[in-house]
């Protein structure tokens, strides 16, 4: 596939590789496979909801579908595409290193991830199909006949994978930066990945412990979550959300960094407020651990805890808002070039603001109690997290596509799919806000007849959206093999990874570079001449 290793790209070179770039590509392929599976499950869920009294799937199968869809999309697509694919691809290239600190451990992380994927597939195809939701709340997950142990062991393998990655990448970023690559010159994408791995480091052990206790309760007769013997099922929800809430920032922080790279490059402007961006990233990583109770507002938690965590939840809007304003300020008076990655990045900002504003509503105690466990919540996280972060993933995949494949993607197809995905997302999920406010609970296979027309809008939107996703997948796969050859720096970007050939040689850098400037030094006198034609100066 790559020029350099064309002669020796046998299966062995991939399975036994310790090269971070090959591992990155393998993460991407695995994630995209599960992403496709999740889409297929979503098609089945959507198709059956054309009319009330779901004719396609019954309630039991529906539970299995949303369980695997949710777990697959969060744990196999969104988290690994950022902390697996982008972290592996970008961190060594952006800090000027030849590989990560522990290349073999990095390969082990990937193989644990593959192991977890096997577990997930088993959960779908073996008897006792998993129907406990991606959250796996007891007591249902303990009392059900479904194979809860698969859920637990998949989380264990994912956790082992993520912990090894966290140790590896934190060590890499701290010790292996090239000379002159100070903390103040790090790419914001690297800062985002750094923050994400800090969250993984402290969060993963807690959820791994929580699900282990689930296993003990179900199979060994312990009483952690057994209320009749002094335990508490709510304890599981606390432990689960202590990781699972920060987990959204494991996805979002690298995504924020990637958007910053793209916005700066295609606006031909230095990123606005670099320091405030870094502080905001780290503030979100820290605050993310103090808001999990907003998932338990209706679960009988004491008032003081609910009020404190409601306020902390709202506080997260501050660093997040800073980031949105910084992106807008970066674009302001920039020489914006709407190549596909930029289009996706702006689409992300749009969806993220829609989802984010509704998040303020969720965070307010009074509103949350009303909309808790309704489709409002589904609408909220599908806009603020699922769709907007998938937009960033596609933006990043297209942006670095020339770098990691050595070929260009199809620009025209990518732009068309952007609009399809944007329109599909809005049609598929905005009506859920209305349904949620009208009291329609989430995770229901059927619905009352008066909601039929609204549901039909979401079904149509869902199919548009899924068509867009499949077009993107086709674009990625086709271009990887048959795209035009890419130059080393097709975007005229200033960051370190664009100074080396596309695709990079296995050793990345001929000599370790000495860094003398930051990654966003757009707008030097020569730069301005190149980017801005004479007419544009009139503005």
């Amino acid at each position: 596939m790559t020029q350099e290793s064309a002669g020796r790209s046998g299966l062995k070179e991939w399975i036994f590789t310790t090269d971070h770039k090959k591992i990155a590509v393998m993460y991407l392929i695995t994630s995209l496979v599960v992403f496709t599976l999740g889409l297929l499950l979503a098609i089945v869920m959507k198709a059956g909801q054309w009319s009330p009294g779901n004719s396609l799937v019954g309630p039991k199968l529906y539970n299995v579908l949303f369980t695997i869809h949710g777990a697959g999309m969060i744990l196999w697509w969104m988290i690994p595409v950022f902390t697996g694919f982008f972290a592996n691809l970008l961190v060594p290239l952006m800090i000027g290193a030849r590989d990560v600190a522990f290349p073999r451990l990095n390969a082990l992380s990937f193989w644990f991830f593959v192991g977890a994927t096997v577990m997930a597939v088993l959960a779908l195809v073996t008897p006792g199909r998993l129907d406990i939701g991606w959250t796996g709340y007891p007591p249902y997950s303990i009392k059900t006949d479904a194979n809860t142990s698969l859920y637990v062991f998949a989380v264990h393998l994912l956790g082992a994978s993520a912990l090894a990655s966290a140790v590896n990448f934190l060590t890499t970023i701290i010790t292996m930066r090239a000379p002159g690559m100070t903390w103040g010159r790090l790419n914001l994408a690297v800062w985002g990945i750094f923050g994400a791995f800090i969250i993984q480091l402290f969060g993963i052990p807690v959820i791994a412990g929580a699900v282990t206790l689930l296993l003990f309760d179900k199979y060994l007769g312990t009483n952690f979550y057994n209320a009749t013997m002094g335990g508490s099922p709510i304890l599981y929800q606390h432990l689960f959300w202590f990781y699972a809430h920060p987990a959204v920032y494991v996805i979002a922080l690298p995504a924020f960094g990637i958007v910053s790279e793209i916005v700066s490059t295609f606006s031909r402007k230095k990123i606005f407020g670099y320091t405030s961006m870094v502080i905001a990233l780290m503030a979100i990583a820290f605050l993310g651990f103090d808001v999990w109770i907003h998932h338990l507002f209706t679960k009988g938690v004491e008032d003081w805890a609910r009020i404190v965590q409601s306020l902390l939840t709202l506080l997260i809007a501050v660093p997040t808002g800073i980031k949105v304003f910084n992106w807008l300020a970066t674009m302001h008076k920039g020489s914006i070039d709407f190549k596909a990655p930029m289009l996706y990045a702006v689409g992300f900002i749009t969806l993220f603001v829609i989802g984010g504003v509704t998040g303020i509503g969720n965070g307010l105690l009074a509103i949350d109690i009303d909309v808790h466990d309704t489709l409002w919540v589904v609408a909220h996280f599908h806009t603020v997290l699922s769709m907007s972060m998938t937009m960033v993933a596609f933006a990043g995949i297209f942006f670095w596509f020339p770098k990691f494949t050595g070929r260009m993607y199809n620009e025209r197809l990518a732009k068309i799919t952007f609009w399809i995905i944007l329109i599909g997302s809005l049609l598929a999920f905005v009506p859920y806000f209305k349904l949620g406010l009208e009291g329609m609970p989430r995770r229901y296979w059927s619905y009352p007849p008066e909601f039929t027309s609204t549901y039909r809008v979401t079904v149509i939107g869902g199919f548009i959206l899924i068509a867009g996703f499949f077009m993107t997948l086709i674009n990625i796969v086709r271009s990887a093999f048959a795209g035009e050859r890419a130059t080393a720096n097709p975007w005229n970007a200033k960051s370190l990874e664009w100074t080396i050939p596309s695709p990079p040689p296995s050793y990345n850098f001929e000599t370790i570079p000495v860094i003398t400037a930051g990654p966003y030094e757009y707008g030097s006198p020569e730069e301005g001449k190149k980017a801005l034609p004479e007419e544009a100066e009139a503005f």
Binding site: R104, L201, V206
Partner: protein, 262 residues
């Protein structure tokens, strides 16, 4: 700061292929599938067989892995930082367990709950165990000092002493467990029993890992793979051991001492 910057093979960089991560990863999967077979499908023999093959696979994989690492003539010493980062996540694991324990303890009208056969396990045994563990922190420090001075004999001796103290701790704990189970106090008795065995068990498994690691270092030392210039693994083991010893004091306070004051 500059001298702390590390590079892979500054002069040259060979593309490394290694089969061992794949072997360990897939063996890990096999272990998990074995557990699943035993727990969910109620086929304990088949499950044990699968898990057993998996464990053997992991051991072979790790052995091959370590041989590859020690075949190189130098080390970069990055593992010292890595183990500190890893210990942070271990702290989070214990934090989660302690949090869960306190979450159940504070609202309870009586702790341990009334049906606990012999009440809180006696403090005396726990204090003896504490002495074993805390003194082993000092002995592993002695071992490191000897290694830095290049006194390999002293190093091996103190390391062996540390392992013995760790093993004594584990034996003492196993003895206490069997006595308590004999009195009818089990994981299923109530939430206190559940947490008692889980917290001390998780901690004990960490001690066990530490002792195995020390045994492994002793083997490396006997084969002259450890020296004052190649001691990252010893330092890493030392940090880990101090952490395991330190966290025991929290286990002691929460499980053995605190219930007496309620």
């Amino acid at each position: 700061m500059q001298e702390k910057v590390a590079y892979h093979g500054l002069e040259h960089h060979e593309v490394e292929l290694s089969a061992w991560p794949f072997v360990v990863g897939m063996s890990g999967l096999l272990v998990m599938i074995g557990f699943m077979t035993a727990f969910q499908w109620k086929l304990p023999m088949l499950g044990m067989l699968l898990s057993g093959v998996g464990v053997v696979g992991i051991l072979i994989g790790l052995f091959g892995w370590v041989s590859e690492v020690y075949a190189k003539k130098f080390e970069e010493g990055l593992s010292k930082l890595a183990i500190v980062i890893f210990i942070c996540s271990e702290a989070a694991l214990f934090g989660g367990l302690f949090g869960g324990y306190l979450y159940n303890m504070f609202p309870a009208p009586q702790w341990p709950p009334a049906n606990t056969p012999a009440g809180v396990p006696p403090l005396g045994v726990a204090l003896v165990l504490t002495v074993f563990l805390l003194s082993s922190s000092a002995t592993i420090q002695m071992a490191e000092t000897k290694l830095e001075k290049g006194e390999m004999g002293g190093f091996k001796g103190w390391l062996l002493f540390t392992m013995t103290l760790g093993a004594l701790f584990l034996a003492g704990q196993a003895n206490e467990w069997s006595k308590l189970i004999g009195e009818g106090f089990t994981v299923s008795t109530n939430a206190y029993g559940t947490f008692f065995y889980t917290v001390t068990g998780v901690h004990g498994s960490h001690v066990l890992v530490g002792v195995i690691l020390q045994f492994f270092i002793l083997l490396l030392a006997l084969r002259n793979k450890i020296s004052s210039r190649r001691q990252t693994i010893v330092k890493a083991c030392g940090y880990y051991w101090h952490f395991v010893d330190g966290i025991w004091l929290v286990v002691l306070s929460l499980i053995y001492v605190l219930p007496n004051f309620r």
